[in-house]
Amino acid sequence: MMYFSEAMRVLLANPVRTFLTVIGLIIGVTAVVAIQTLGHSMAGAISETLDVMADNSFMVFLGGVQPDYTKSAIHLTDLTDIQATVPNVASATPMGGTNDLARHGHNVGRFSLTSDTNPPFNNAPLAFGRRINDDDVSNGTDVMVISWQAYKRLFPKGGDPTGQSIYFGSHRYVLIGVLEKPRQGLLNSQFGGDLTIPYTTFLREYNRDGRFGMARFIVTDPSTMKATEAAVIRRIHELRHVGSNVQYQTFDKATLTNGINGIFTGVTLVVGLIGAVSLLVAGIGVMNIMLVSINERTREIGTRKAIGARRGQILLQFFIESAVLSSIGCYIGMGIGLLIGGFVNTFFIVKLTGYTATLPYMQAFVTTTIFAAIVTLAFGTYPAFRAAGLNPIEALRYE
């Protein structure tokens, strides 16, 4: 296409000027694409991390400083009541934890122990054995599921450890399962404690008064979970006879996901603002250089018109020149942005989360193309009209 090759010829005839003109676009698009890429990876990593949490459960915990823990703590009887009276609650189990030394043979480590039930709080897959089942819960058996870290510490020789004994403090448990090694990184650190036992066993051994700071609820219909959460909170207030000064907070996957999405929306807005400002600045640069170029080529435009170029043809030529100029800047920026995004993704996000994100090439391409189009339309149109509107007689006379 001749308009295109003409534009390339003109722009490459003055490479330094072309480069300086597009550098603003390069920086702007680089920033936007890099942040877009990182946002994409981070969102993917976090959403995958949250997948181990079940969709149909939420937690309630006692928030803030409590004047009277004995009074405001959730009692086991509250949970029985809620399970019976609040609709949509399939199960209500307390969550408690403690720390002590765990020992297998000569191998000892200090670990946290949490109570759990079936279905489990942490959906992470198993490396060995089985999870806590309903029989374990109803009978309060002395069984234990341990994390991969605990397994490495207590069973340094490896092998299937199920059926072996573990002492936690002075109490003996039978090991029934080991969770798979979690992905490396901060975000994927273990959900829950390293050692989990049935909550019934926990009640008997570590929590005889039946008071908890936290409880877990499983719902039948996850779509009305928010309403169920509110109903549960109301019921706890009633049962505890406490006023609104005592706060019980809820926590579920949807809330967490929304919170994270909110952060990314904020980031996107900031990126959009950076993009808009850089577009404006870079676009003015493009317009400026196009006007200079048209001024320098006044005689050329006069010649083109004299030999029969129509107004629209001159318009198109300079419009395409602006488009090529903008596109050069924007697509170079896209390339650098993806490189930076890919680099950070490989060396930081994967290291941090273990999540291998695919780079959002298509998204970056669409963003970049929109950028280029906006710059061209907003800042290339006026120079093109100016060139097309030149009077051929005056243009030919121009020195």
């Binding site: 010829r9 050329e300 004299a306 030999i307 029969g308 170029a309």
Partner: protein, 235 residues
């Protein structure tokens, strides 16, 4: 006299420039006919209206009054795009300063009008080579303007003016930027083009150049003061 035999018919052409409320009359009523195949020199001192007349003949400007029929078509009242179309199809321009596109080879420069006419790449190339041959520059087709001498550049410009097979070839001081020897070569080329039947109108202030034409029109203060065969010019 009928339209069919005339390349150009000017009837009572006037041109008045408006500068705010000030009206500056430049042409006061020009009547002239140029037959197909004529070779005419237009002469006149600066400020005589010669350039204005050439702009009107070249369809770069419209007359304020009067009628201009170019190659059988009344072009007095066309709009800008229609005039561009006429320039593209019926006129060829040769400028004093060549006005070639820099960094663009001779063949592409020559083919430029065909691009605006919507002719395909291959056909443009073929026809560009044909006119370059006509001006004797086949071997310079791939050279860029800065690799060509002034005379060669003007030949490329002439080839560009010829590529659309125009009804009239307009040359504005075509030898103004050239030395004597090169000027002579270019004038020989114009002679050759005239012999092959081209209609040529040339603006010049050089009597020696004007003498090469077959007819000389002299303009003064916006009027034709003389219209005579070139053979009457004294050496």
């Amino acid at each position: 006299m009928n339209n069919g035999t005339h390349a150009i018919q000017l009837r009572a052409i006037t041109k008045t420039y408006k500068n705010g409320s000030l009206e500056v009359p430049v042409l006061h009523g020009i009547d002239a006919d140029v037959a197909h195949g004529e070779y005419v020199a237009v002469m006149g001192p600066s400020g005589s209206g010669k350039s204005t007349l050439m702009n009107i003949i070249g369809c770069l400007d419209r007359p304020t009054g009067g009628n201009y029929v170019l190659d059988g078509e009344d072009v007095s009242h066309l709009n800008d795009n229609q005039l561009a179309e006429i320039r593209l199809k019926k006129l060829g321009f040769v400028f004093q300063g060549f006005n070639l596109l820099a960094r663009t080879d001779a063949a592409k420069n020559v083919a430029l009008p065909l691009f605006y006419a919507g002719v395909g790449t291959r056909e443009r190339q073929r026809r560009a080579m044909a006119v370059l041959e006509e001006v004797g520059l086949t071997d310079r087709a791939k050279h860029k303007p800065n690799e060509l001498s002034g005379g060669q550049q003007q030949r490329v410009a002439i080839a560009r003016a010829l590529i659309n097979d125009p009804a009239v070839l307009l040359a504005d001081e075509p030898t103004g930027n050239l030395d004597t020897k090169t000027s002579a070569d270019i004038m020989e080329l114009f002679d050759k083009l005239h012999e092959s039947g081209r209609t040529i109108i040339m603006v010049t202030h050089d009597e020696n150049v004007a003498r090469r034409a077959r007819r000389v029109i002299r303009i003064l203060d916006g009027l034709i003061v003389a219209d005579e065969p070139a053979s009457l010019i004294k050496a």
